[in-house]
């Protein structure tokens, strides 16, 4: 039952090292983003949009790379930055996973029973989701900067304000449902976080395209928007991630209800955490419906962000400010 403090200490050190490694990877991704695809700023989005769905049997390379000629040396430098960043990300993810595993060994339980541990798991899932996505679609690599940014932020918060020392599980959490319910919740939230990042990028790109079309330009959207993949690609990947995560999130809520039945005598009691899980679920359901409805599709990205907002509220505000049965923040 006792916590192995020296193991817990090793886990903390690995956690900090993982954050530093991710930050280093971010520099690599930023380098790739900065050096790659120069000269793209003037390439308008309009022809690119038409390229999507052109009837070629071989998939066209992402339109972004067909645009204005890019100097090869710049491209090679960008690619070196990108490849290095991926290697560093993998190293960071391994450190991060080891940190979680050692924390688990230290408390002799699944290590995601408080906000620090939960945020750490969400972070590693988001990184893994991105790595898997990159393995299947290498062309999204240069978006690493945007995906890693929220991961580093949430891990920094986890390591500072949300941190709590490794401690044995309170009786209420001593259940195998902790492993199932929280794993499902953390996985889906990690994936939905990546989906929301891509949605923000999509909105930036869409705004940029609209400005270019109307002959105006904004330095702000042009700085980022011009180098992003086509709106269609961003929207599709964001949707696919959300569509992948939604059943997992649903499963997580149902597991929570089964656990609540065994722990509190009722499967659903509108505890604040349950209420916000319900709100986020309903909003993501609305996202899937909005995206499938012609005429409303343009609102879908905002609904996606709203859903992620509800989920973030459920994590930070409900855990810290509102008291309820799910009071395991570990911040007292």
């Amino acid at each position: 039952m006792a916590v192995n403090t020296s193991l817990a200490h090793v886990s903390d050190t690995l956690f900090t090292t993982a954050i530093a490694t991710y930050a280093l990877a971010m520099i690599g991704y930023a380098g790739e983003y900065a050096f790659g695809h120069r000269g793209k700023v003037n390439a308008t989005a309009v022809p690119q949009r038409e390229l999507v769905g052109a009837g070629a049997p071989v998939p066209p390379p992402p339109p972004i790379e067909q645009a204005a000629p890019v100097s090869t040396s710049r491209n090679a430098a960008a690619s070196r930055f990108g490849r290095a960043a991926v290697v560093i990300t993998i190293v960071g993810a391994l450190l991060h996973l080891t940190s979680i595993a050692i924390r688990g060994a230290a408390v002799d339980e699944v290590p995601w029973s408080n906000m620090y541990e939960f945020a750490s798991v969400v972070g590693v899932i988001a990184v893994l989701a991105f790595l898997v996505g990159m393995a299947r679609m290498p062309q999204i690599r240069y978006l690493g900067l945007f995906v890693m940014f929220p991961v580093v932020v949430i891990m920094f918060l986890a390591g500072t304000v949300l941190y709590s020392r490794a401690s044995p599980l309170v009786p209420a959490l001593q259940s195998y449902w902790l492993a199932i319910h929280v794993t499902a919740a953390a996985s889906s939230e990690g994936i939905l976080m990546t989906s929301s990042v891509l949605t923000v990028l999509y909105l930036v790109r869409r705004r940029h395209d609209a400005l270019v079309l109307s002959g105006r330009s904004s330095r702000l959207t042009a700085a980022i928007g011009a180098r992003l993949p086509t709106p269609a690609t961003l929207d599709k990947v964001a949707y696919r991630l959300a569509a992948f995560a939604f059943p997992i999130y649903t499963f997580g809520i149902i597991c929570g209800a089964i656990w609540a039945e065994a722990a509190w005598g009722r499967y659903w009691g509108w505890d604040p955490k349950e209420t916000w899980a319900f709100i986020a679920w309903v909003v993501y359901a609305a996202y899937l419906h909005t995206r499938a409805t012609a005429g409303l599709k343009k609102w879908a990205p905002w609904v996606n962000l709203l859903g992620f907002g509800a989920m973030t509220f459920n994590f930070f505000v409900v855990n810290i400010v509102i008291s309820g049965l799910h009071s395991y923040a570990g911040l007292n």
């Binding site: 070629a56 009786p171 722990a263 009722r266 499967y267 509108w270």
Partner: protein
């Protein structure tokens, strides 16, 4: 869809106050003090049901409208889908090359040979209709019907889940009961301290499962830091009073599941035992269940009351029980110390009392506090285990010991398993509706020339992604390649590479 979306958003928004304002079913005390401290605004909120959002008319109206709209949408969709499942895949459009994805190639196989080979290459997942147009064979292939099936299963399961919840509500009951070690309670509505009864339980149409239960022993295991690591209530139970054939241990996360009813361990506390020497000369043993006011140290509050013979001879005692008693000033506990507790373990139990005499009155009040209107304080004392204190009028109090009590909850909801079934169907349906892709392929197989019987066969293929296009371009290229290998390529002199027109 627009109506449904508006209702979905309304549902999400309507749930928000339910988490931000105190809710009466969850926390009646907090709700009362919130209304009291917010005056007219609090009363207004109460009037519009803001303190019982999930039981309010408007919340019910939103989800009922949502489900009506859902059912109205589902019925025609089920009909359409049932028809689509039976129908042959659609005939090919006139120009397959104008479809989003298309390609063509030539083969030396005859149209019939190629059509047979193509049919078997597509496999069982594609539903294929074969049509003949002159010398041309057209295969219409379609797959991914289970996408809509999954979608319908999800939405039907959602309706079933709502019905299961509603029916469960009608038949359910829930009661909580504080049970002291060594005491027994029988499962009747009247024996619950607090209860929440469903409509049919209120009307007496549902009677609680017949069993009686005794708490033999309640135990807590602590870590070195005096944090609880395990709670266990050892109980014996049976169908009638004093007829207990079974024993079991109820723990957090491990309720006792009896036929129909579940018994949970929710809270626990201490019940100090005292002996009171009354003003009328009699001696009364008394035990009272104290309510923990500090969840960490288990400093607990409670009251004793004994009615004496003759007017003015009642005794009331307000008590504070500290499992590990310490003086608030850090020194040793004296008669004047303010006692508090440093740990929930009973390392140094101390009972701090204030004793009253007078008329306790017959008004019904909480067992945890005194009605002091006609009582007069005669002094107070801090008692360690076994100690006594004597007060004016020959009254004395002895702190004999303590037992523990467990807060048990009995729950009954006959629809739970149906709801679990519906929830499982929801997840399965959801996976099907989001992961399966609807695809259509048309394959036109005909001779290149209608007059030359030795002319090669031309195959033109068109494809359409009916849902979630994903990487349909890649997917289609894969299918085109597979179809190309269904027939031998044309061999022409000087042109060893299979001809492919794209």
């Amino acid at each position: 869809m627009r109506t449904a979306l508006v209702l979905l958003f309304l549902l999400a928004v309507a749930a928000v106050p339910g988490s931000l304002l105190p809710q009466r079913p969850l926390n009646p005390d907090k709700t009362r003090s919130y209304i009291a401290s917010h005056g007219a605004w609090g009363q207004f909120l109460d009037h519009i049901g803001m303190f019982d959002v999930f039981g309010s008319v408007w919340f019910a109206a939103i989800y009922l409208l949502l489900f009506i709209s859902l059912i109205g949408c589902l019925i025609p969709r089920i009909r359409v889908h049932a028809r689509a499942m039976r129908a042959k895949p659609l005939a090919a459009p006139k120009h397959v090359e104008r479809l989003p994805e298309s390609g063509s190639f030539e083969t030396s196989a005859t149209p019939t040979e190629f059509a047979d080979a193509a049919r078997s290459a597509l496999g069982r997942r594609w539903r294929v209709a074969r049509r003949q147009q002159g010398q041309t064979i057209v295969l219409s292939a379609e797959k991914g019907y289970s996408r809509e099936t999954g979608n319908l299963i999800f939405h039907i399961a959602l309706v079933v889940a709502l019905i299961a919840i509603a029916v469960g509500r009608l038949y359910s009951y829930e009661g909580s009961r504080v049970l002291r070690e060594g005491s027994e309670f029988c499962n009747e509505y009247s024996q619950y301290d607090t209860s929440r009864l469903g409509r049919f339980a209120q009307d007496g149409k549902v009677s609680p499962a017949p069993f009686c239960m005794t708490l033999n022993k309640f135990s807590v295991a602590y870590s070195a830091a005096s944090e609880p690591t395990n709670f266990a209530a050892n109980v014996s139970y049976g169908p009638a009073e004093n007829d207990h054939a079974h024993t079991d241990t109820i723990k957090v996360n491990h309720p006792l599941r009896l036929e129909g009813d579940r018994v949970y361990l929710i809270t626990h506390g201490y019940s100090p035992e005292i002996t009171i020497h009354m003003p009328d000369g009699s001696t009364r043993p008394d035990t009272a269940d104290f309510i923990p006011t500090n969840p960490t140290t288990y400093l607990s509050e409670g009251a004793f009351q004994e009615l004496g013979k003759g007017s003015g001879n009642d005794v009331g005692i307000e008590g504070l029980f500290a499992p590990t008693g310490v003086s608030q000033d850090g020194g040793p506990i004296t008669a004047n110390s303010i006692v508090t507790s440093s740990s929930p373990r009973t390392d140094n139990p101390v009972l701090a009392i204030t004793v009253y005499t007078g008329d306790a009155g017959n008004t019904v009040h909480s067992v945890y506090s005194l009605d002091k209107t006609n009582l007069k304080s005669i002094g107070s004392a801090n008692l360690a285990l076994g100690q006594s204190a004597t007060f004016a009028g020959g009254v004395s109090v002895t702190f004999n010991g303590y037992v523990q009590w467990a807060g048990l909850q009995v729950s009954h909801d006959p629809s739970q398993l149906y709801l679990l079934g519906a929830a499982t169907a929801m997840v399965i349906g959801l996976i099907g509706s989001l992961a399966i892709r609807r695809r259509r392929l048309w394959i036109k197989i005909g001779p290149a020339s209608l007059t030359d019987s030795r002319s090669p066969t031309v195959v033109s293929v068109g494809g359409l992604a009916r849902s979630d296009s994903g990487n349909f371009t890649d997917e289609f290229a894969g299918w085109l390649e597979r179809l190309r290998s269904c027939g031998p390529p044309i061999e022409r002199a000087g042109d060893p590479v299979p001809a492919g027109k794209e």
